[in-house]
């Protein structure tokens, strides 16, 4: 059972996060003070740390820097109200693996925790996941909710490009370019055919589209 450390000085938020994560099946330890967090993280064997930045005694960034300086590589997701780009950059530079701004959706937080756990479990480096869909590029395996899904070569290439650029639009021209590379020529509706096949296999809402922009896969960042 994965163990989580939640560092949050707001009692109401901390207890709600703890209960919600416990309902998801995690073992959760909650701490409100920076020095306590550092001590617990140093001795305890946690799978993921959720770290607030504005804690008493010792700020979240100092805790994080100290952990990394001590060689502790536990994945850290910063959960904070500070949303400036330079604050995000400072957090990630200090060694955080992810950065979430409050008020955070608990479902999204759970997805981010799962993502960190998967990465920790030694998932192949060229494996990607968006929502329930995962793609192992080197193994040419696609899966939906863990169930393998059979794809043609063209569908796989289209899906791989969409997932590489998840949460951004990929133009039809770029998708065609990806296919040209393999076949040297494509019929005019090849991309549309591949997209509709992928929608059939992964759900209609998995791939979003906008006229003039192209196609996009998205959902909580993972």
């Amino acid at each position: 059972m994965p163990r989580l450390l939640v560092a949050e000085d707001d009692a109401a938020l901390g207890s709600a996060m703890k209960r919600a994560l416990e309902l998801d099946g995690y073992v959760v330890d909650l701490f409100a003070r920076g020095d306590d967090v550092l001590e617990a993280a140093s001795v305890g064997d946690y799978d993921v740390i959720l770290l607030d930045l504005g804690m008493p005694r010792m700020g979240g960034l100092d805790v994080l820097r100290q952990l990394r300086a001590d060689g502790n590589a536990t994945p850290v997701i910063i959960v904070t109200a500070f949303d400036r780009t330079r604050q995000r950059v400072a957090g990630l530079d200090a060694g955080a693996d992810d950065y979430v701004v409050k008020p955070v959706d608990l479902e999204e937080l759970a997805a981010r925790i799962r993502s960190q756990l998967r990465r920790k479990d030694g998932r192949p480096a060229d494996s990607m996941s968006v929502g329930e869909v995962t793609l192992d590029v080197s193994g040419h395996i696609a899966a939906r909710s863990g169930e393998p899904v059979a794809l043609t070569a063209k569908e796989f290439r289209v899906l791989a490009l969409l997932m590489r650029r998840a949460r951004r639009f990929v133009s039809k021209a770029d998708l065609e370019g990806e296919l040209y590379d393999q076949d040297h020529w494509v019929e005019s509706n090849t991309v549309e055919v591949a997209i509709s096949a992928l929608r059939r296999k992964f759900g209609r809402d998995f791939i979003r589209t906008a006229r003039g922009l192209g196609y996009m896969v998205g959902g909580p960042e993972t």
């Binding site: 109401a12 919600a20 309902l23 109200a81 008020p103 951004r168 039809k172 906008a210 006229r211 922009l213």
Partner: protein, 460 residues
């Protein structure tokens, strides 16, 4: 009250000073000239009396004079002292001078015009006297025999220096000179004050966030105190900006943390409660999210105050694509359709971050207020001097009378409608920062609101 122009005031004062100086100089010149003319005239009187005395020398015998002095009758015709030639010669040289010759205080010869002999002073030297309504000046020259006195006199009016003919001659060159000096003076003044205009131009060209001090060396010493004061103001503004930034960060933290707690509790409630309470928790979540949006909007607005603008060549199509992607991911699947025209790169020189904030606010506004229309059409149109981005929805549109109001802060289409009421005011502020404009129109191709974002071309 607006103070009158510094240069005009200075100009006026310098002109008054010049006029006073000119008048003073004129008065002094007039007095000095009159005194000199008086002195020269006196010298002429002396000369005239000497000439007369010399002419009479031949005929001067005491006896004759005594005899003439005694009988008291003076007849010009047979005056033995001055022949008619001698009289003519005297008048040819000094036609404005009268004379009288006295022997032992009695008149023995006279010019025959001018002041009555009885009024002429009978003393040697210079004297003033009044006669026949005029002021006169006389000089009495004693002869070798002290009983003889030759007196020559002239009217004061002859001696006075009149400015009128001088002025008449000088009028045209003087007017030209005065006009030329007024022009030169004005030009010099403007030229000296152009430094102030340069300072104004420099300050105007600055972006809101540019608070770097002005270099002392770039400005003349006269502007030194002004430059120092401006630099001090810049430092104070910079500190105020820093404080404001820190304050918004604090506000963000203090508001978001309890909101996050409420949201987490509500989500937990929805997850763990029986179905009827789940719906209530869902409604609570929606309210919390609206409060979250409001805080985000206020922070965006507050931070736009301190945003620095940096213009560069931007792919506006890609920027629109990112904003649409972000918007789409926040919406439930199939909630709205988006279209963007054209489907390729459109480059334009602008500040990408403020344009993105504006677009995000406008498109976000369409997803809140025109969700039921189900469609957002975005067009990017580039002309030689202007980039226009239109965002059209299929909502119920906005009455022409409400359009101005809707662009202001906390103004909503309907009193209890969705949204924070900040979206369009954020867009207005961001577009202003980007140097552009925003306006609301009716869609021409059917119902719906068309938001027009317009950016002028800027030089490289």
């Amino acid at each position: 009250m607006r103070r009158s122009s510094l240069s005009i005031r200075l100009y006026r004062r310098v002109l008054i000073l010049l006029a006073l100086t000119g008048l003073g100089m004129g008065a002094i010149l007039y007095v000095v000239a009159n005194r000199e003319i008086g002195r020269a005239s006196d010298a002429q009187l002396v000369n005239a009396s000497r000439l007369l005395y010399m002419m009479m020398q031949d005929d001067l015998t005491a006896g004759v004079l005594v005899a003439r002095g005694k009988d008291q009758t003076l007849d010009e015709g047979d005056d033995p002292l001055l022949s008619s030639q001698e009289r003519k010669a005297f008048h040819a040289s000094y036609d404005w001078c009268m004379f009288a010759v006295f022997w032992d205080g009695k008149p023995v010869a006279q010019s025959g015009w001018g002041a009555p002999v009885s009024l002429v002073p009978r003393q040697p030297g210079l004297h003033d006297f009044k006669a026949v309504g005029d002021r006169w000046r006389s000089y009495g020259l004693p002869g070798r025999d002290p009983r003889l006195l030759v007196v020559v006199a002239e009217r004061d009016a002859m001696r006075e220096f009149s400015m009128v003919p001088v002025l008449r001659k000088l009028a045209l060159p003087l007017i030209l000179l005065i006009a030329a000096s007024m022009v030169v003076l004005w030009w010099t003044l403007r030229k000296s004050l152009s430094e102030v205009e340069r300072l104004a131009t420099t300050l105007n060209a600055r972006s809101l966030a540019d608070l770097t001090p002005l270099a002392r060396g770039d400005w003349s010493r006269d502007l030194g105190p002004l430059i120092v004061a401006l630099n001090k103001l810049f430092v104070r503004l910079d500190q105020a900006y820093e404080l404001e930034q820190a304050f918004t960060d604090d506000v963000a933290h203090e508001l978001r943390t309890p909101l996050a707690a409420i949201r987490a509790q509500a989500q937990l409630l929805r997850k763990t409660s029986p179905v009827p309470q789940q719906e209530e928790a869902g409604r609570l979540l929606a309210v919390v999210d609206r409060a979250g949006d409001l805080i985000d909007g206020m922070l965006t607005l507050a931070r736009l105050n301190a945003t620095s603008v940096s213009t560069r060549s931007v792919d506006v199509h890609a920027l629109v694509a990112d904003v649409v992607a972000e918007t789409l991911l926040r919406l439930p699947p199939d909630a709205m359709e988006f279209s963007v025209n054209p489907d390729h790169i459109v480059r334009w020189r602008c500040d990408p971050s403020s344009l993105q904030i504006a677009l995000s606010a406008v498109i976000g506004n369409a997803t809140v207020h025109a969700r039921q229309g189900g469609q957002v059409d975005i067009a990017v149109v580039r002309s030689s001097d202007r980039l226009t981005i239109t965002v059209g929805d299929r909502g119920c549109g906005v009455d022409a009378a409400d359009r101005e109001r809707l662009l202001r802060r906390f103004e909503r289409g309907t009193a209890n409608g969705p949204g924070s009421g900040l979206g369009l005011s954020i867009a207005v502020k961001a577009m202003t920062l980007a140097g552009g404009t925003i306006r609301l129109e009716d869609r021409q191709d059917g119902p719906g609101l068309l938001v027009v974002l317009s950016l002028p071309a800027v030089a490289d």
